[in-house]
Symmetry: C2
Subunit: 322 residues, 2 copies
């Protein structure tokens, strides 16, 4: 019986590698730079990293049940194909799963990176032992990973768990997706900063004028700092972001009734400055039929959730394939 | 091997009985009045109906794999207990599952009626063959049933699938649940009629004044008729209900990406007068990244979905228990 599954997480800057044993204990984490010379170079790097991982831990192919590959989207999970990656040149219609499988002489499975991160937190991070779990990643956009009965929810056409595109404000802010009022237009780091910038350019006074003038842009961290310094615009912007995030969490509770909602991504660097107002809004917006039973919490694995989650996907695949 | 599972659907006025064979083919449907003399009388009626069903079809206990009981809530599925039923006297903390099981000398399982109806449509109704499915029941309130990978989604604390309490309008209409802006405050038959009544009482002119004066109340059917007769208030009210329903459907697509969303309950008597505007709003609100791949459709089983879905729950239970 195989002892491990391997996880490989393809990111725009680094490719991460790691192992998950059959008790779901993670180990062996390291990373290599993501090549920019096209898909063959990316596959070579993934295979080289996978072989190094096996060598470093004195493992043979018999010791590895399967390899899970996490990738940004859009991807076709069933076919194992990366359709296109805006941040990695040359990654268009690449049969990544089968190329990596052939290179490593191991069975492989492909998964969306947000889903993999969700499973990673569920298996060995902030979701561990807490039952059904929903992950919200708050970065450039808002991503989602949904774990029900230990399994990743994909949707019939592999387009589910797009939690950043739940409409939280009818006829609200226009989104690139063509909808209006999507959660990510209110609660992602990028759009939060865009909104603050818009208000400042409309002439609203704010401490944020200084970093905006100095850097040409502001980020979520600037907003948190200005808010803590008593800036009313920053406070209003942060409050709006945490309000809609909490509203999204209430809806997730009504739909999934999960054990935990885990917040991840760049914005969670704010720590309690994020979690406390989200929880406050959540308790206020939540129904009164029952006290909240879903815990909202911060990611514990951070950027390492995806690689171990990918290995978890591989375990699910290897177990089902038996 | 057993040939059938039995479904029993407990309603406020009738108890329904039916069979589902191992090919998921429904048969044997009949109903008995729901006793109002308390829980013992209800259990006696359920057992009597179950025995009659077996007698009518010349079945012995060996022929029935299990009994599924659908009940309004709140219930405790794991414990098989009905906690309270506002519409049936004396049904407080009743161990309904075990009482019916003992009376019929068969294994039994309890399920929420909306979940059962969802599974019924999925197995042998409007959801048949369509993959993952979400049911929305539009009646007094808005209920939900979610079927993923052929299984009912309950949530960790059995409080999931409360789709009528998704917040679709921040700071919107106050709901009895303590939240504001719940879907059911916009798109249920009851609150739709309440909203029209409120506008009329505020002095807005409408053809609906006549039925309101004559009957003391108006219903969804009156509103559809007045709208078709060109009444602008009725048209506005119906448009608001179908808009929010469509917005809920968009969010269901972003989250579950199901094959079908099935609309059921009293309001679906309006047929295409409901479906057409919901689909129109849905297509308009839906993202442009991809054409809608989820079909919105009307229930085909109507009030019979619950009894066959309850039998489907029994099949899932019997199969898992093997």
């Amino acid at each position: 019986m195989s002892k491990y599954c391997m996880g490989i997480d393809l990111g725009g800057t680094f490719i991460k590698f790691g192992l998950l044993d059959s008790q779901m204990k993670p180990s062996g984490l390291f990373q290599l730079p993501t090549p920019t010379e096209g898909s063959d170079a990316v596959v070579r790097q993934m295979v080289a990293g996978g072989l190094k991982l096996m060598q470093d831990h004195q493992l043979t192919a018999q010791d590895i049940a399967a390899v899970g590959i996490g990738s940004p989207g859009p991807i076709n999970i069933t076919k194992g194909v990366v359709i296109s990656l805006p941040n990695i040149p040359g990654m268009n219609n690449v049969p990544l799963r089968d190329m990596v499988a052939a290179g490593l002489k191991l069975r492989a499975v492909l998964e969306n990176d947000a889903n993999a991160a969700g499973l990673g937190e569920y298996i060995c991070g902030a979701g561990k032992g807490g039952g059904d779990m929903v992950l919200l990643t708050l970065g450039t956009g808002v991503g989602g990973g949904i774990i029900v009965d230990g399994k990743v929810l994909h949707g019939l056409h592999e387009m589910g768990a797009e939690l950043g595109h739940m409409i939280v404000q009818p006829d609200g802010e226009p989104c690139n997706c063509g909808q209006k009022g999507c959660l990510e237009r209110y609660s992602s780091a990028t759009f939060l900063a865009q909104y603050a910038t818009r208000l400042i350019k409309e002439g609203r006074p704010s401490l944020l004028q200084k970093p905006l003038a100095a850097k040409g842009e502001i980020d979520a961290r600037d907003i948190v700092q200005a808010s803590k310094a008593g800036d009313s615009l920053a406070t209003e912007v942060w409050d709006r972001a945490t309000f809609y995030l909490a509203l999204g969490c209430v809806n997730i509770c009504r739909i999934f009734d999960p054990g935990r909602i885990v917040l991840a991504g760049g914005m969670t660097k704010a720590g309690d400055d994020l979690l406390t107002p989200v929880q406050r809004h959540f308790e206020r917006l939540h129904w009164s039929l029952h006290k909240p039973v879903t815990e909202i919490t911060l990611s514990t694995l951070g950027n390492d959730a995806g690689v171990f989650g990918a290995a978890g996907v591989a375990w699910a695949f290897a177990t089902a394939a038996k």
